[in-house]
Every structure is written in structure tokens, then in C-alpha cells.
Amino acid sequence: MKSIYEKLEYLKARKAPPLKLMEVCGTHTAAIFKSGIRGVLSPTIRLISGPGCPVCVTPASYIDRCVAYAHTPDHTVACFGDMLKVPGSVCSLSEAKAEGGRVEMIYSPFEVADLAAAEPRQTFIIAAVGFETTAPAYALLMDELTERGIENVKLLTALKSAIPAIEWICESEESVDGFLCPGHVSVVTGSGVYEPLAARYGKPFVVAGFEEMHLVDAIYELARLAEDHRSSAANPAETSLVRNLYGEAVSAEGNTKARRVTARYFEAGRATWRGLGELDESGLYLRDEYRRFDAGSHDLAEDVALPDGCRCADVITGRIDPDECPMFGTACAPGRPAGPCMVSSEGACGIWYSNRG
């Protein structure tokens, strides 16, 4: 068993063939930059960002709908801070607020229950954006709303499941040699969810946390699994290519309680992903019996076109690094973003921009 420092030394000096590893989750992208590991790794290891920033994969038509609600009399849009500056085709929620629209920034969905109880004549539209990790909180909010008899809250959902997007990448981006699996999503789904993907596509999947030593460990494990798998490619390995290095938070079966409460209120359906298009069973929508709490989430399949030159879609799918986009740092920067990837704290472009040389 190698120590973490030996692993780091191996990754610095590695000479074997080039490896392209995708970190699916935006929080990992941020952690990778924070750790400074990109500058330490051997040039043979390339880290690319994936579709794991929920704000970034949300279509612009969704923002447009939120903006319209903010300007609708007796309506207030409640959202997390990340969403405020995301540009829609007309303007962002932050701009809508400055023009007199009602927008409340929240830290937790549960704040909305109290806001709604205090202002029964207002309808509160929650911009419910997120992955498997966030969905249970909205389900628990639904518990609270029904218990307290609060009816003036509606959800505009762009809740998504990260797993179909990872499968889409496996299917369409052959050059990715391995996946650093989203840590928080895996808490809910369990590491077992990657077994069928690993077996079908013959690629390693490693679940890891967010500290620098977690990252070193995970990248080492991905490199080793990919190399072993290549060398035994003629004889497909019987053993699993999935490793869970985040045992303190992630189990093989995941958080079944969280999945159960989510399933009580939500069901899977087709959803539009910026850059990926429509994916079956990748969105979460309120079930029919709770449809009165839905603010029209089903009719947001059509995405409006990206601004000319914006290569958001290629960034989300790992085809290019953010600084290869012609707008990066010039026409698109955090103060005046063209696409969501430049705004969100989990967006690859914004993270690259704040670490630019």
C-alpha cells in the first residue's frame, strides 16, 4: 500500500500513455483548482470538467420563465444565490429584481415556507435546480408545505439526475478514460450505481471526497485502474472497475431514505440539458397528485439558442477547456457572463477564470 505522498510522486512523474479523466461534478472542479493539483500532475494526465454543475446544464428558457414570474403581479421568485446572475435570453433574475421584479435569495428551500406563511397573498415560485443531492430537500419542503397547509408555493423544477448524463458522456465521448464520480450525488445514489456503466463501457469510476489528499488518491486510483484495464483489455477483467474512496460518506447502496422521500413527491421524466439535449428519465417532476404545486416545469423542453460564439455546450461535455472558447475572459467574464458556466460557483468557466494566469 503506497502512502499518499508516494502516490503524489507517481502522478508527478508518470510517463505512461496520455490519460483523459473527467471530474463530473463542479464541486470537484473547484476543489481541483483550490488544491493546485493541475500544476503538479504529469502532463500525461489531463483533467476535464463534466456536466455536473446543475445551474450550467439548465436551459436559458428556464431562466426566462423565472424572470417572467418575477415580473408577474403577486408573484415572488425564490432561488439560491448561484441562479441570480445566470443570463436568460432577455435578462438575469438579478436584473429583473433591479427592474422591480420580486426575487428573494434563499439559503435553504425551507425559508420559503415561512416567507409564504407570512405573505399568503403572494405566490412564491421556487427555482428548484439541482441533482440527486438537492431533490430530497425539496421533497422535505413538500412534507412541510402539506403539513402546514401552505398552498401559495409552487416549484419550477429543473431537478436532474446526474447518472443519465454520465451515461450520455460514456456513449458519445469515447476519449474519456475514467470518471471521478460526483461525491455528493454518490452519497444519495450509492457507489453501486456506477457498476453497470463501468462494466458496459470498460472504464473506471472512482468516488472521492473533496480534500486535496482525496483528489490525489482518486486520480492515482483512476490512473492505475485505467492502465491495468488497458493491459488486460484482451481479456475483459471480471473484477469491478468501481472504487469508493469516500467511505465516510458514501455506501454502495446510498441513502435509501433520501431516495424514498424524493420518490414520494417526484417521478422521473425527459429533461433538456444544455449541451446534451433531451435525455430520457433524467429529470424529476412533481407527481400528478402534487401537480398543483408545479409552476409549469414540463413545458421547458425547448432551449433558446446560445449567444453567438458561446461554446458552453462543448465545455459542459468536456470537448474543450474553458479557455479554448473564443469568448472566454473577453466577451464573457464573471461580471458580464454570456453563459451559466461563467456564473455558477461550480461552473467550469468561472472557476478557470478566477484561476487564470
Binding site: G36, I37, V40, G81, S108, G335, S354, G357
Partner: protein, 338 residues
């Protein structure tokens, strides 16, 4: 006072206003200038240049662990005057009270302002009260501080950072921000605001012949933003060492859960001092001897240029030996934090 809540009458300029002045502000802030109750304060002439700074305080909640809006309104303005290399002497305060505010709360806040003013050795010499309709039964405070410059030739300035200088921060980062956010979210923990008067520490540095090149308080925008301003103004590169950045363990855990970075979180009782390397040890000892500086740490140095980043940047040496750029705060930050 014979009522328990602020009413519109307290802002009328009539008898209720006079009562409020007598029973709350006059009682706590009493001094020979204010007690004259004139339209304006007459201050003695000063041989040195005057430094003036003003700030408005809108924090919610108005009372929090480690302080309240009153203490904050004195600390914030006094510290700004102090960072100019001046000796703070006078304060004015304007209160905007919301109808329905508990007079007992106002009394506590005025008492806490008076205590902070005594600690900073400043007199509150003028003030004003208005009452508005509001939703939160709260209050807002504006304070203006006046101080006299110590030495016109060599006051600290962001432009004065020099290659080789050592960067010292006076203590743990992010306490105030984490405290306010915890209170708003109803999260029970032991995190308290760092809200503090920095006079003792600044005096100690400036009165003991430390050649302080730069001195800035670290408030909204956090250390990352302040250091970028310093790097920009001086045209130097600031290089930080990740493992030296002081953060309280509970605040670090809180930040981990909330996805916050202590480098960009607001503080209300922290300063960053940039001093020549030869004086760094002594400066650290002096800072640590002051109550507000007991966790002071040297966190990095000023370098002339770096091959990887342009002048005017801040870089961090990470724990695993990599580097990353430390940029200014982008985005909303947390509103109504101070």
C-alpha cells in the same frame, strides 16, 4: 420612557424625540460636547490633518453573538479611520429606527455603542434620529468618524508594499460572516462575530517604530479581495501559504458544509499588516499581545513578480505544493452583513 416601542412620534422632533435623546442617547453617550445639545458640535482646532470616514450599518439580525449593530457601527468606522494611520477622536451617529422597535433593544444597542466608543477613546459628538415605517422592527445606523493623522509623511498605504515584505493577518478569518449566516439560518453553534476595536493593536505597531508599509482592515469581500487591492495598488505579487491561513475549526467546518471560502468572508475585527521582513517577528509579537490580535499569523510575502502571474496578482501555495490564483470576490456575497 413611558412607552416600550418606537412610534412615529419619536421622530417628530417634539417631546417624544427629546425624551428619547434624554433617556437613551444622552444618558449613554454623555460628554461635554454632546451635552450642549446644539445644532452642531464645536471641536477644538487640530494642528494635524484630519481624517474623515463614514459608514452605514444595516446588519440583520441586529443583535448577534459577539456584538450588535451598535458595537459594529463604532468598530467599523473607528477602524477605517485608524487604518489611515490616524488617531480616531470623534464620532457622529445617525439612527434610522423602524416603527415598532423595542426601546429596550435600542437601549442595549446605545449602551454597547457607548462601551465601544470608550474602548476606542472617541467621543460621540453629534447625532440624529429618524423613524420610518418598516417590516422588521429594526434599525440602521450611520456613523462618521474624525481622527487626526499621526505623521503626515509616512502613513501606511496599499501602494507601499515592497518585495520581501511579510504579510501578517491579525487572526482567524470568516468569524463574523459565519456568525451572521448561522443566525439567519437558525443554525445553533458557538461561532461568534470578531467585531472589535483595533486601536490597541494598531497603536502598538505604530508607536513602536514598526515601519508598517500597509495596514488595512479586512471586512466585506474578505482577505482575498483586500490583498488583491494591495497587489494592484503596489504593482507587486502577494504570495500566500495555504497552511498558514488561520481559520477557527468550527468556522472551517461550517464553511465546508455551506460551500464558503474563508478567504472571501467578511470580518469586523481583523487587519492585515505588511511590514519589512526584518521587523516581522517583532510586529507579530506586538500584535499578539493585543486582545484582538492573539491569533495573528504571518501568512505570506510580497514578491516582485512571478513567472506564472502578472503583477498585481495574489497567488496561493497550496498544501500539496501547487499554486492557484486568488482573485477578488465575484458575485453577491452575503447581503446585510454589516
Amino acid at each position: 420612557m413611558n412607552v416600550s416601542k418606537i412610534t412615529m412620534a419619536h421622530g417628530s422632533g417634539g417631546r417624544d424625540s427629546a425624551e428619547l435623546m434624554r433617556d437613551i442617547f444622552g444618558r449613554h453617550f454623555a460628554n461635554e460636547v454632546l451635552d450642549r445639545l446644539e445644532d452642531g458640535a464645536v471641536l477644538p482646532p487640530s494642528p494635524e490633518s484630519l481624517v474623515v470616514s463614514t459608514d452605514s450599518f444595516v446588519v440583520t439580525p441586529i443583535e448577534f453573538r459577539g456584538g450588535d449593530i451598535g458595537k459594529l457601527s463604532v468598530c467599523g468606522t473607528v477602524n477605517d479611520v485608524l487604518m489611515m494611520g490616524a488617531i480616531p477622536e470623534y464620532l457622529t451617529c445617525g439612527f434610522i429606527l423602524e416603527e415598532g422597535l423595542d426601546i429596550a433593544v435600542l437601549d442595549r444597542i446605545a449602551m454597547s455603542m457607548a462601551a465601544a466608543a470608550r474602548e476606542a477613546d472617541v467621543l460621540i459628538v453629534a447625532g440624529d434620529t429618524k423613524v420610518v415605517e418598516g417590516r422588521n422592527n429594526g434599525l440602521m445606523i450611520n456613523t462618521t468618524g474624525i481622527g487626526t493623522l499621526r505623521d503626515r509623511s509616512a502613513h501606511p498605504s496599499a501602494a507601499n508594499a515592497r518585495p520581501g515584505d511579510v504579510v501578517i493577518v491579525s487572526g482567524n478569518l470568516g468569524d463574523h460572516h459565519a456568525c451572521i449566516l448561522s443566525a439567519r439560518m437558525g443554525i445553533a453553534n458557538n461561532i461568534g462575530s470578531d467585531c472589535a476595536i483595533l486601536c490597541e493593536m494598531a497603536d502598538s505597531l505604530l508607536n513602536n517604530d514598526i515601519d508598517v508599509h500597509v495596514m488595512r482592515d479586512v471586512t466585506r469581500g474578505g482577505l482575498g479581495t483586500v490583498l488583491n487591492e494591495i497587489a494592484n495598488a503596489s504593482g507587486q505579487v502577494v504570495e500566500l501559504s495555504e497552511q498558514e491561513i488561520p481559520v477557527d475549526a468550527e468556522v472551517r467546518d461550517f464553511c465546508g458544509i455551506m460551500g464558503l471560502d474563508p478567504l472571501y468572508m467578511g470580518n469586523e475585527g481583523k487587519l492585515v499588516a505588511i511590514v519589512p521582513q526584518a521587523q516581522a517577528e517583532r510586529a507579530l509579537d506586538l500584535m499578539r499581545a493585543a486582545e484582538a490580535g492573539r491569533h495573528a499569523r504571518a501568512i505570506g510575502k510580497v514578491i516582485g513578480a512571478d513567472v506564472n502571474v502578472g503583477r498585481g496578482s495574489v497567488v496561493m501555495r497550496t498544501k500539496i505544493g501547487g499554486t492557484r490564483r486568488v482573485d477578488v470576490l465575484f458575485g453577491e456575497g452575503l447581503p446585510r452583513i454589516c
